[in-house]
């Protein structure tokens, strides 16, 4: 008997993303995305599953990390799938994330918010 040379669970995410390991848009685990509604013919199974999560969203959003957890997909794979849906115009980011360092204004807003909710 020959054994499989690789664990299929390790292979699948790579296959799912068409061999890519980086998302085309800067999508982070904490990036909040909103989804389009309705059906989208031609979308692959992962894309359909992902959009199906948002059926009850009423316009609300989810972080990429929450999507990864719900679909039981690795975060790295989920980032790529979300970036693809953004590229197709089926998802939008809550904010543009172009800085590796958060601006001072965001730190101040978080501080204000934490104090208000303490």
């Amino acid at each position: 008997m020959s054994r499989p040379r690789q664990d299929p669970d390790l292979v699948r995410p790579y296959v799912r993303t068409g061999g890519r390991t980086r998302p085309s848009t800067d999508v982070r685990l904490e990036s909040v995305v909103f989804a389009a509604t309705g059906t989208h013919p031609g979308l692959n199974a992962d894309g359909r599953r992902l959009l199906a999560l948002f059926a009850g969203a009423r316009g609300g959003g989810l972080a990429v990390a929450e999507i990864a957890s719900e679909l039981a997909l690795p975060p790295s794979t989920t980032r790529i799938l979300v970036a693809d849906l953004i590229g197709l115009g089926l998802m939008t980011l809550a904010q543009a994330q172009d800085a590796d360092r958060p601006p001072v204004s965001l730190i101040e807003r978080v501080l204000h918010g934490l104090r208000a909710h303490a």
Binding site: R28, L29, E30, R58, A65, E66, P75, I107, L111
Partner: protein, 196 residues
């Protein structure tokens, strides 16, 4: 097939900004408890694919009452207004999870490092990783029931912290205590940033 989520699982449609704070610490130090105390939704768990070999080497002997180890990331969230959501990522501190760390640390405001007063040495690896990544951090002692209470100055010295690094005591089970630890971290981050 994944089913649709209930409306309370979503963040508000008015959200335009997200912020991220990493809650770091050694194995079994209370990271998930901390995240759960602050989060408005039950902590969510996700796992990145890791090799089985590394999954077997966690030091379960140190915390025998804990039968599983966190090989992924637990996270929670809290709205800080109609337009702003804070995400807390409770993350394993071992160097072997470095690939996940790097992704988590990009864009983070900073890190809160939880330490166990019974095992301060377990924190050195995390502190070194954060310093290497140039991520600003504050330290909070999770004061476990029955654990010795050392003067903060002694802990500051034992951890070899920089003089300006904030150090406080918290109870990861208490929401108000966790919020104060986050406020102390964020005040520190605001002080670090150069003023325009």
């Amino acid at each position: 097939m994944a089913s649709a989520l209930t409306p309370d699982r979503f963040v508000a449609p008015t959200v335009t900004a997200t912020a991220k704070i990493v809650v770091a610490g050694a194995f079994g130090v209370g990271k998930t408890t901390f995240v759960g105390s602050v989060s408005e939704v039950p902590p969510v768990h996700m796992e990145e694919t890791i090799t089985r070999a590394s999954a077997l080497v966690d030091d379960l002997a140190r915390t025998p009452q804990k039968s599983t180890t966190t090989v992924g990331v637990d996270f929670g969230r809290k709205h800080l207004g109609d337009d702003l959501v804070l995400y807390l990522f409770g993350t394993p501190g071992q160097a072997r999870f470095r690939f996940l760390w790097e992704e988590l640390l990009v864009g983070a405001l900073g890190a809160l490092v939880l330490v166990d007063p019974r095992d301060l040495d377990a924190s050195h690896e995390i502190l070194a990783l954060l310093e290497e990544a140039e991520v600003a951090y504050a330290v909070a002692v999770n004061q476990f029931d029955g654990a010795p209470r050392y003067p903060l100055a002694e802990i500051h010295e034992a951890l070899a912290l920089e003089g300006h690094t904030p150090l406080s005591v918290c109870d990861a089970r208490e929401r108000a205590s966790c919020m104060q630890a986050l406020i102390q971290l964020t005040e520190y981050l605001a002080r670090l940033e150069p003023r325009p």
